[in-house]
Symmetry: C2
Subunit: 336 residues, 2 copies
């Protein structure tokens, strides 16, 4: 059996820099027509000059493969002139609360001050992408942040807001209250709960932010995604760390799912008997909310078992060593 | 300032075997007159012969230091004859639900079948020590198990039951409903929450079972312990793992707190302005509930800062590298 996806998109992606970028970008380019690239590099991408350099580096890292990097700027106070100049080259601004995840120290520490920049985004039609967590208790951080989303959605009714990598039943509920909200959902949050991270042996490879939540939360995500919610968008949040950053005392957060995303998503949708909705989740929903026309590119999956490698370079991928039921048709890779 | 404790006891302790036993036993012997030794070795301690061998090995490992190992047998179905023979050499039976923690595969999988053995314990006056967790969602396991404690306390009203290493507000509440329940509380559960384990970087050294819970739970434990609850008993649950078992993908559960217990407990009680209650927690409460007369041994703490080493042999101790306000008076070590 063969499954052909038209212009699948990964709408939340960490590609890193330098050697790591060169290692991981081809995995995304092999599976997707494009992806939304996060700006939280060691030095955040918060100027147009830096963004252009980063975009060029990404295209180089993809080699010949066709992949459209939808670039984001790291949220700070921007002037109207800056945003007007950037508008044609970005898909949105990515807002991080300060210190909430990897390389987010330069993020927002005072939400009372973001109004003017957010108002400009609304006026200029630039989406706002948000890592929505407070600094509260780890299992409550997303739920506590929902009032900020609510405030944004009500205060800026024409602003398109993306709740990134949602993990809770309550976030799904909020989505239905405001048409100007959408949300990305990762592969791993459709699969794991805190039990998988810390219920048996501790599993650093499954440690991510937001942390995986309860079975109830996961079920709510699954139900909404497999149910075909039109404003739920696939975003892998694939976030590679070299092996040693996952093993020392103090392990970095991030699941490197890029090598396995589409095959595993196909398996999940098939198990849920909703394979016909996979294309909406990975193609249509994102393009519609972001109002983009992705490059033409079809990606083909085969219903042929495939064993995930233990390592991709220095990085251990999500589901390492496991056998998936679907695989990427390497022969069709990058067909345009 | 000097603090002298009469016969402090660590009423929940993992001493392991062989080289690890030789490494860790002296830390406990330096601080305590005795301790309740857990029986979940690779081959569980579930015969009197094995128990005698283990006891001899522990005494050898303590070298010359005075330390009374209060031995436990791993819970299984025992005959009356076995229990009568063991009675004088054990402080209780330790019950593990099957597969719930390190080396608990041989534990109880069917609670409907434990009644006869538990009735014998009640009749013979042998305490039952319980690792009280279900196989449910990791944050709910202890709360879900409370109904088993309730059933035990009501069905066997003369049985002394110890809820081991409790971590939740609800367990504290249950304690007040039944006089035949007591509970051990660890040092680390008085200090950390899930935020410390997985709220920032992932910290394998703080990963333990039961997993650290919410700030609300920790506060309830603190309030009850510092408030002088007469049936809350110190048990460190110190559980060493060699470094490599804490760093590979799949980290073992257990906090090695033995080297720091009394100095850190003194600091906590001092911060809570309840230093006068430390002796109840680490000496009186345990001896009273277990109806034991510990060996005479006083242990002295000095209010002299002390830096916890990064490693004790191959094991990283709890609070490694941190400076504590109290230290063990090495000169007084083992004074009898």
């Amino acid at each position: 059996m063969r499954l052909t996806l038209d212009a699948p998109l990964d709408m939340h992606l960490h590609l890193r820099e330098q050697e790591m970028l060169d290692l991981v970008a081809p995995f995304s380019a092999a599976q997707f027509a494009g992806g939304v690239v996060m700006p939280n590099l060691i030095q955040p991408v918060d100027t147009l000059a830096r963004l252009r350099d980063y975009r060029a580096a990404i295209l180089r890292a993809c080699g010949g493969a066709s992949f459209h990097p939808y670039m984001t700027l790291f949220f700070r106070e921007y002037s109207r002139e800056e945003l007007i100049e950037a508008r044609g080259e970005i898909i949105g601004l990515k807002l991080y609360p300060a210190g909430i995840t990897t390389q987010s120290e330069a993020g927002v520490s005072d939400f009372d001050r973001i109004g003017p920049t957010v108002a400009l985004l609304e006026e200029l039609g630039i989406p706002l992408l948000v890592h929505g967590e407070t600094n509260g208790f780890v299992m409550d951080r997303e739920r506590e942040f929902l009032r900020v989303y609510q405030w944004l959605a009500e205060t800026f009714p024409r602003l398109r807001i993306v709740m990134e990598h949602i993990t809770t039943a309550e976030a799904v509920t909020l989505l239905d209250r405001y048409d100007n909200l959408a949300a990305t959902v990762t592969l791993h949050h459709l699969m794991i709960t805190l039990d998988d991270v810390a219920g048996g042996l501790l599993q650093p490879d499954l440690f991510c932010k937001p942390i995986a939540k309860t079975p109830r939360d996961r079920d709510a995500l699954r139900q909404a995604v497999f149910g075909g919610h039109p404003r739920l968008i696939f975003g892998s949040d694939s976030a590679p760390h070299p092996r040693h950053k996952k093993e020392c005392c103090g392990c970095a957060a991030g699941v490197f799912s890029a090598p396995v995303t589409l095959p595993m998503l196909a398996q999940l949708f098939e198990e849920a008997e909703r394979l016909e909705r996979l294309a909406d989740f990975v193609s249509t929903n994102g393009a519609r909310f972001y109002q983009i026309t992705p490059p033409q590119k079809s990606v083909e999956l085969l219903r042929t078992p495939w064993r995930v490698p233990e390592l991709c370079g220095a990085v251990r991928p999500f589901l390492a060593g496991q056998t998936l039921r679907w695989s990427l048709d390497e022969g069709s890779r990058g067909r345009e």
